[in-house]
């Protein structure tokens, strides 16, 4: 098990969707179909109100590996959300080409 106890239902998403960097999460979104994004969104949305209180018990800079994985899943939910909720498309349909738009960490 890679997630904290109580989140076994999300275990099947970890291998593909727990990604550490924003740019890599965005690439995963763009490489997915809208159906795949919708499935991930549907799995995470009802669990966010359990995920966040669980993670809030710990210091953000010192998360254990299982909690870190859960955080990355939640961040990926936010990455997927605009595609599912707003654009109904994995990418920004008329957006400036993604390959020329560089995302750098803070």
């Amino acid at each position: 098990m890679t997630l904290p106890g109580g989140f076994d239902d999300l275990e099947c998403w970890v291998a593909e969707w727990a990604i550490g960097e924003e740019a890599a999460r965005n690439r995963k979104r763009l490489a997915s179909s809208l159906d795949q994004l919708q499935a991930y969104y549907n799995a995470l949305l009802p669990r966010m109100d359990a995920i966040i209180p669980h993670l809030n018990q710990y210091s953000l800079d010192a998360l254990a590996p299982a909690e870190q994985t859960l955080l990355e899943m939640a961040l990926m939910f936010m990455e997927v959300a605009p595609a599912v909720e707003i654009y109904k498309h994995p990418d920004v349909p008329w957006g400036f080409v993604a390959e020329r738009f560089h995302i750098l960490p803070a």
């Binding site: 990455e79 400036f96 020329r100």
Partner: protein, 404 residues
């Protein structure tokens, strides 16, 4: 019978009547000669922002900025005396560039023959010094570039007779100066090399007219409601060459499920108490509008500091050629105290990131259209007063008419 009040549709031409109402020539965004004059009369004369003091927090921290429009490479460095300084990245021996990128250093040693400078720019070591002729190392420090800070923003100018920065910023600085910039931290940086003129690029970010079209799926938070379908700017302020405009919030705005989650665990992008409580955060909503979303703040010539209640972001538009611009965006929010705030802010960050892909989608096609020569003028509305102001200021400077 009540006739509609003409002036409510044209408030800014009344406020700034010297800008006029006529068409604006296209030539300044397509002419290579004009671009060269902008280099000399604007970019080599004005104060230019190179970042924030937090970019180099510790003594010895440095960052090199290659500024194509100045044909210069500039080192920003925090000296061991904690002072932030700027130097030309040029060795005093035979002119080699000293360093690239960023990092922390005790000093800078030239790779060509080993001349070495400390973090205050003093020349501290010349190999085989005795073979030179009356060399006085106190006179061979790095060439300084004028560098001043305002509200934590680091500016430089290569103009030795530029007025002090605070005077240059004037009322613009007074408007934004008390915003709590230093309490926020960078969330990410976005960059792109874009094939358009720097002014065309800026224009895409200094009016709300495009919202209903370019942001047709994302502009619901801004005006774009029945009684304000085009999200009219609620106020505009011109400060010499700088300008500021306020964008309205849609009080009927309904967040998506993810944004509602975001708002539940931290301040969100749009749903902030500042919408109801004007003036709540210093340096924002200067007109005190009850439905306020954010302020567009354009620091002439190429720098934006847009502020809202719980975030700010900056744009830098660095001209490379008449039809090429390097764009950089930095987004800042309060540092997250827990995972819930971290996750919440991810929504805000990504929403704006995707929205910027929409904004950038128009500027290359606009430049291509303007470069075709098909039209000689642009036709501007009262809502595009900031666009009009930019061309006026630039043209006045390029032609030596600018006063103040």
């Amino acid at each position: 019978m009540n006739k509609p009040d003409f002036d409510t549709l044209h408030p800014y031409v009344r406020q700034y009547s010297d800008l006029g109402t006529g068409p604006v020539p296209v030539m300044p965004v397509v002419s290579p000669e004009y671009f060269e004059r902008e280099r000399e009369t604007i970019f080599k004369k004005m104060w230019l922002n190179l970042g924030r003091v937090e970019d180099i927090p510790n003594p010895g921290d440095y960052v090199v900025r290659d500024i194509a429009i100045l044909k210069a490479s500039i080192i920003l460095v925090r000296g061991d005396d904690d002072q932030v300084r700027a130097f030309h990245n040029v060795c005093r021996h035979r002119g080699n560039q000293l360093v690239q990128g960023s990092g922390n250093a005790k000093g800078f040693s030239c790779g060509f023959h080993g001349w070495t400078y400390d973090t205050q720019g003093q020349c501290v070591f010349v190999p085989d010094e005795e073979v030179f002729f009356n060399l006085d190392r106190s006179q061979t420090g790095l060439s300084p570039v004028r560098c001043e800070t305002f509200a934590g923003f680091v500016f430089v100018t290569v103009n030795p007779s530029a007025v002090p920065l605070v005077e240059y910023l004037g009322g613009f600085g007074q408007q934004i100066g008390d915003f709590p910039f230093q309490t926020m931290q960078r969330m990410h940086t976005l960059k792109a090399d874009v094939n358009c003129n720097w002014k065309v690029f800026i224009d895409a970010f200094q009016e709300s007219y495009h919202g209903r079209f370019v942001h047709r799926l994302t502009a619901a938070a801004a005006g774009c409601v029945d009684d304000d379908p085009y999200a009219h700017l609620t106020s505009v302020r011109l400060y010499g060459p700088h300008r500021s405009a306020s964008v309205p919030f849609n009080p009927e705005y309904q967040p998506t499920p993810a944004e509602a989650l975001s708002f539940k665990y931290a301040q969100s992008l749009w749903l902030h108490e500042g919408n109801a409580g004007a003036q709540r955060v210093p340096g924002t909503n200067p007109a005190g509008h009850p439905n306020w979303l954010f302020d567009i703040n354009v620091c002439f010539p190429n720098f934006f500091v847009d502020v809202s209640s719980s975030w700010f972001f900056t744009y830098h538009f660095w001209p490379v050629a008449v039809d090429r611009t390097h764009w950089e965006y930095n987004f800042y929010m309060l540092p997250p105290q827990n995972a819930g705030e971290r996750i919440s802010r991810e929504y805000s960050k990504l929403y704006l990131r995707d929205l910027l892909r929409e904004d950038l989608s128009t500027v290359e096609t606009t430049q291509a259209g303007l470069s075709s020569g098909a039209i000689e003028h642009m036709i501007l509305s009262d809502q595009e007063v900031a666009v009009r102001h930019q061309y006026k200021v630039v043209d006045d400077m390029v032609n030596g008419r600018w006063v103040g």
